[in-house]
């Protein structure tokens, strides 16, 4: 039984079709990313899975329970970090977690122990008794993640967990998510940051206009676009090219460089070294990015502003170091 099973999910808001026939199967312990631009239907999908919205048609099961017919059992199985803030900012971090624990019927001892654990994990233990109003955006985000984990859910939904955070905080949050992998929590996260999906997810579904256009592990997705490009410079290019071609490689000579199309460049490079007795001066390869994947499947570029945002954050990241 998969942890999350979605079949032909459809959600209409009047004439808008926000989710248009999505099907998914996510195994226990998997980290799965829904990657898509603004308005693709990510939040709507998560809201249906978290029992906050009823689907127009189709069905979904979480931890074996139907999201419509067995909503109470689904709620008991999941934790969620919403895209928009949802903390009570008049309460302290500890009080927010405590109320949450009570709503999941955790005993007093359990609550106390778990509050320490989750606050420790998101590095907020020293601010446990501060009012949330005094927290920065990143701290609030971390507290929301702590709260989502407080009651040890089997399945955790993270809706754009790092939206608007600086690169350092983003890295931290990535680390927490990585830790969840070790704890065996199933994670369904949405993002429109390609690098985030690439870094965190075991599998990715690219979603556009309410439809899944491609699905697979990051490397599978990249391979599906047509594979990597390897470029070699060596002393006797002609001879090298002959050898490569006779070994079945898709190679050609461009200027004085040999260009090879490869499915998985990392694995191919050692083999190339093995057959080359010419002196290789340099060897480089480039994998297609998820961006290339997105363009390949949708014929569209991710909106410029977003690319700019990623670029800008990379810049900041570099400047800090």
């Amino acid at each position: 039984m998969p942890a999350i099973e979605v079949r032909n999910l459809v959600k209409r808001f009047g004439s808008i079709v926000a989710v248009n026939g999505i099907s998914l199967e996510i195994e226990y312990g998997e980290i799965f990313a829904l990657l898509g631009p603004n308005g693709a239907g990510k939040t709507t999908t998560i809201s249906i899975l978290a029992t906050l919205l009823k689907p127009t048609s189709g069905e979904a099961k979480i931890n074996g329970y139907d999201v419509v017919k067995e909503a109470a059992k689904v709620r008991q199985s999941i934790g969620i970090v919403f895209q928009d803030p949802s903390l009570d900012d008049r309460l302290t971090a500890r009080e927010n977690l405590d109320i949450h624990g009570r709503l999941y019927h955790m005993s007093r001892e359990e609550r106390q122990r778990r509050i320490e654990e989750v606050l420790e994990m998101v590095e907020l233990l020293d601010r446990a008794d501060s009012i949330v109003k005094t927290f920065s955006g990143g701290m609030r985000r971390r507290l929301e993640i702590a709260r989502g984990l407080m009651h040890k859910p089997k399945v955790l939904f993270l809706d754009e967990p790092t939206l608007g955070l600086d690169p350092q905080t983003r890295r931290h949050i990535w680390e927490y998510v990585e830790k969840l992998r070790d704890e065996g929590v199933t994670v369904l996260l949405t993002t429109h940051y390609m690098e985030e999906a690439d870094y965190l997810a075991d599998r990715i579904a690219i979603i556009d206009a309410g439809k899944i256009v491609a699905e697979g592990s990051p490397s599978e997705l990249k391979d599906s676009v047509g594979g990597d490009i390897i470029k070699i410079k060596c002393s006797d290019a002609e001879n090298m090219l002959k050898k490569l071609v006779s070994n079945g490689y898709d190679a050609m000579l461009v200027d004085d460089e040999i260009v090879i199309k490869a499915k998985e460049a990392e694995k191919m490079i050692p083999k190339i070294f093995a057959i080359a007795d010419e002196e290789i001066k340099s060897i480089t390869y480039k994998e297609p990015s998820l961006e290339d994947v997105f363009i390949h499947y949708t014929g569209k570029v991710f909106r410029d502003e977003e690319v700019d945002e990623i670029e800008a954050s990379k810049m900041k990241w570099r400047m800090r170091r």
Binding site: I80, R90, L91, I99
Partner: protein, 252 residues
């Protein structure tokens, strides 16, 4: 087992409401300042303008009215937390947890009632300091019963309004056009016997009139209607409001 869970859920929601109230010092200060203003300044001003024979009497007449008025305001406004919860996302947090919708509703109602009754007690204490003597029959339990019935009715009204109206401005509108007329036509500030007939009808169909009447009966032993009738009408009004409040809250 189910009941036990529900009680602890209600308590969790209630606890949060109280913690929030405790943190919002402005609200607490308002709770103290409002009766101080009404009883201290306006009560005394009325006294001198009306030139009543004994100082204590008019203040005693006014106190139950002010008590009911302030409680009605506090109770109705407490519904605004629901508007905030929706706006600031906490509603979603409550809705994804496994608790029943009814628990959220009841927890919130009890939070509002606590706040309104607390407000009532503050006024009582203040009034005692100002020399008002509570001499009605069954004074204390009767007053508490009336306070409870009035506050739960208006907390429910506040919740109903907050479930329907999503903006703060809309909420203020309802307060001004619904609550204020009800208060002015309830006999809270003056005996209604001198009003023209058409206004008297308005007074009679206003359920709050009976709240004020009951409060006055318990507090100072003065009343216009039958106390049993007062309480029955109040009870029916409260139950109706709870049902309406519950209905709108669940639908939203």
């Amino acid at each position: 087992m189910e009941d036990e869970k529900m009680i602890s859920d209600i308590y969790a929601i209630y606890l949060r409401e109280i913690l929030r109230l405790w943190r919002q010092k402005v609200r607490l200060v308002t709770m103290i300042m409002m009766p101080l203003l009404w009883l201290g300044v306006i009560g005394n001003a009325f006294n001198s303008v009306m030139n009543l024979p004994t100082q204590g009497d008019f203040l005693s007449f006014l106190t139950p009215g002010i008590l009911v008025m302030t409680m009605v305001f506090t109770a109705t406004i407490s519904g605004i937390t629901t508007v905030f919860d929706r706006e600031f996302g906490f509603l979603k947090e409550m809705l994804v947890t496994p608790i029943k919708r009814e628990s959220i509703l009841i927890g919130k109602m009890l939070g509002g009632v606590t706040q309104a009754v607390l407000q009532g007690i503050l006024i009582l204490i203040l009034a005692i300091f100002m020399g008002v003597k509570f001499s009605g029959a069954m004074s204390i339990p009767g007053m508490f019963l009336t306070m409870f019935l009035v506050s739960i009715a208006f907390v429910s009204l506040g919740l109903a309004v907050a479930s329907k109206i999503t903006s703060m401005e809309g909420f203020q509108m309802v307060m001004n056009f619904m609550i204020q007329p009800m208060i002015f036509l309830s006999g809270a500030f003056y005996p209604t016997t001198f009003l023209p007939d058409w206004l008297k009808i308005m007074v009679k169909i206003n359920p709050l009139t009976y709240g004020v009447d009951a409060m006055r009966y318990f507090a100072i032993g003065v009343n216009e209607f039958n106390i049993i009738a007062d309480l029955l009408i109040l009870l029916i009004f409260s139950i109706t409001m709870i049902l309406i409040g519950g209905h709108f809250f669940r639908k939203s």
